[in-house]
């Protein structure tokens, strides 16, 4: 029989992982919700951001948490420019085209990383990495708790920005009613680029929060791609609340799947959820229309 304390620890671990997933998925769902494009380069961009955090630490000794503002700003700028120069220009009215372009980007990023950084696994040594906190029967690493709290705070800040600022409102307006937005004088193309930038900025934040406990290799992004898509599809494409709920659900599923089915087979849950949702409830839990 399974020890309930064991189960509790599993769920807790899943929740903690879910915090980061939420952040990654919020970026993806924002991009989808506003631009109606699927950003296949999401994982690779996260990987690049993780390398940025790694090199900031290795070369300049910047603590990953201290790097947050810089990496977030840098990621935003990178996303903004990427959209302006490439993604915004060439959809030719077919959504697969953007999927293919972002696939092309991920091929370029992954292999450029391999070329320049090599295939070795890179980690950051921070003094607080070995600190654990005891909650019930579970021992949880302090950085994971920090990253969990910080992800939620960043998501909340983003939520407030979307609710209260003019730009945030304009983003939400553009998501559903582009022509109406143009007619009140919103520069829709600019809002698109800003939205893409914010989506990538979320990845920058996630990278800072991940690095103290995680490692980076040129294929690190892969682990997150299908997970992020699954969360977004589960929650409903374009839905923020959905991304949040989906992030935690997937975090827990993964954690418990690993517990019951073992490390290898445990991952199957994610893909199966993804397939089943697409086949039987493509609107997800909170989506309005697929």
């Amino acid at each position: 029989m399974l020890d309930p304390a064991f189960l509790f620890a599993g769920i807790l671990n899943g929740l903690l992982a879910g915090g980061i997933y939420v952040l990654v998925a919020v970026g993806l769902t924002l991009i989808y919700g506003v631009l109606h494009i699927i950003n296949f380069a999401h994982g690779s961009l996260l990987m690049l951001a993780m390398y940025a955090v790694f090199w900031l630490w290795r070369l300049l000794g910047v603590d990953p948490y201290a790097a947050l503002p810089v990496v977030i700003a840098g990621a935003f700028a990178f996303g903004f420019v990427l959209y302006r120069l490439l993604i915004g220009r060439y959809n030719h009215g077919r959504d697969e085209n953007i999927l293919l372009i972002t696939l092309g980007l991920s091929i370029v990023f992954d292999n450029a990383a391999l070329l320049f950084f090599g295939g070795d696994t890179q980690t950051i040594d921070v003094p607080y990495a070995g600190t654990f906190v005891e909650i019930g029967a579970a021992f949880l690493p302090l950085p994971k708790i920090i990253s969990f709290v910080a992800s939620l705070l960043i998501c909340a800040a983003l939520g407030l920005y979307m609710a209260w600022s003019d730009t945030g409102k304009a983003i939400r307006a553009v998501a559903k009613e582009r022509q109406g937005a143009r007619l009140v004088g919103i520069d829709v193309e600019n809002i698109f680029a800003i939205s893409y930038g914010i989506g990538i900025a979320c990845l920058g934040a996630a990278a800072c929060l991940l690095m103290p406990t995680y490692y980076v290799t040129p294929t690190s992004g892969h682990a997150f791609v299908l997970v992020a898509f699954t969360i977004v599809v589960l929650g409903g494409m374009g839905s923020f609340v959905g991304a949040a709920v989906g992030g935690f659900l997937i975090g827990i599923t993964e954690s418990l799947g690993g517990l019951f089915l073992g490390e290898q087979l445990g991952q199957i849950g994610i893909s199966l959820i993804f397939i089943l949702i697409l086949l039987f409830k493509p609107t997800g839990l909170f989506g309005s229309k697929a």
Binding site: D166, K169, A170, R172, A173, A175, K176, E177, Q179, G180, A181, R182, L183, V184, G185, I186, D187
Partner: protein, 233 residues
């Protein structure tokens, strides 16, 4: 105020407007009439900068705005309330109105909001409701309210009576008259010929991309060709 000369426009390879001349003076209500597919919405969308015209000029206050981006046109005070309302369905009524002053009229946002809400008390009751849950008539008021938040100097109303009950249609035309009496110039694009002619100073009838008739509204109402342009007979 608005002067359009030999405007040619369309979508892709389709030429919808084949040389249109039209003008709206300060303080006027001008009605733009015509059956479906005559090119009324194409005209609006080119004036508002959603599309780039193929040729011709569009002048607003003497400046050529043909092909200028919509952001600049709104900034200049030429605001369109589009057909089908185009409100932001997931945003609250208040947010919809506030976004009306995204590009213009931001400084006086609070006063303008008061003014618009005084004009549409029904919107005041629903400030926190999302716009998608409003009825058709309420959405139309919201769309007009949103347009007014930009302190327009010329307001284009595209089919404001479409889909409204006869009672609401009366109310809508009353409102248009009221806005005009406050000094606002209005280009009214309508299918509802009789009521539009009753309220407008001058009118144009668009037929297959060209102006088929134009003149004083009172005279046009009597014109035998008006009916023919709609019913072919």
């Amino acid at each position: 105020m608005l002067e359009i000369a030999s405007l040619r426009a369309g979508y892709g390879a389709i030429e919808v407007l084949r040389g249109v001349d039209l003008a709206v003076g300060a303080g006027e209500i001008v009605a733009l009439l015509g059956s479906n597919g005559a090119g009324k919405s194409t005209l609006n969308n080119n004036v508002s900068g959603l599309y780039r015209p193929f040729g011709g000029t569009i002048r607003f206050d003497g400046h050529d705005i043909a092909g200028a981006p919509s952001t600049r046109i709104v900034e200049a005070g030429l605001v369109q309330v589009p057909e089908g309302r185009r409100v932001f369905p997931t945003l609250a009524v208040r947010d919809n109105l506030e976004l009306g002053s995204y590009r213009r009229g931001k400084a006086a946002r609070a006063q303008n909001l008061e003014r618009v809400l005084a004009m549409f008390p029904r919107l005041k009751e629903r400030l926190t409701q999302s716009a998608g849950t409003l009825s058709g008539g309420e959405q139309q008021m919201l769309a007009i309210g949103r347009g007014l938040m930009a302190e327009p100097r010329l307001l284009i109303l595209d089919e404001p009576s479409l889909g409204l009950s006869p009672l609401l249609v009366e109310e809508m035309f009353g409102l248009i008259g009221q806005l005009n009496r406050q000094g606002l110039a209005i280009l009214l694009v309508e299918q509802n010929v009789v009521q539009s002619l009753a309220i407008a100073h001058r009118a144009y009838v668009l037929e297959n991309g060209r102006i088929a008739l134009s003149g004083k509204a009172s005279e046009l109402a009597e014109h035998p060709d008006l009916r023919k342009s709609y019913l072919g007979h």
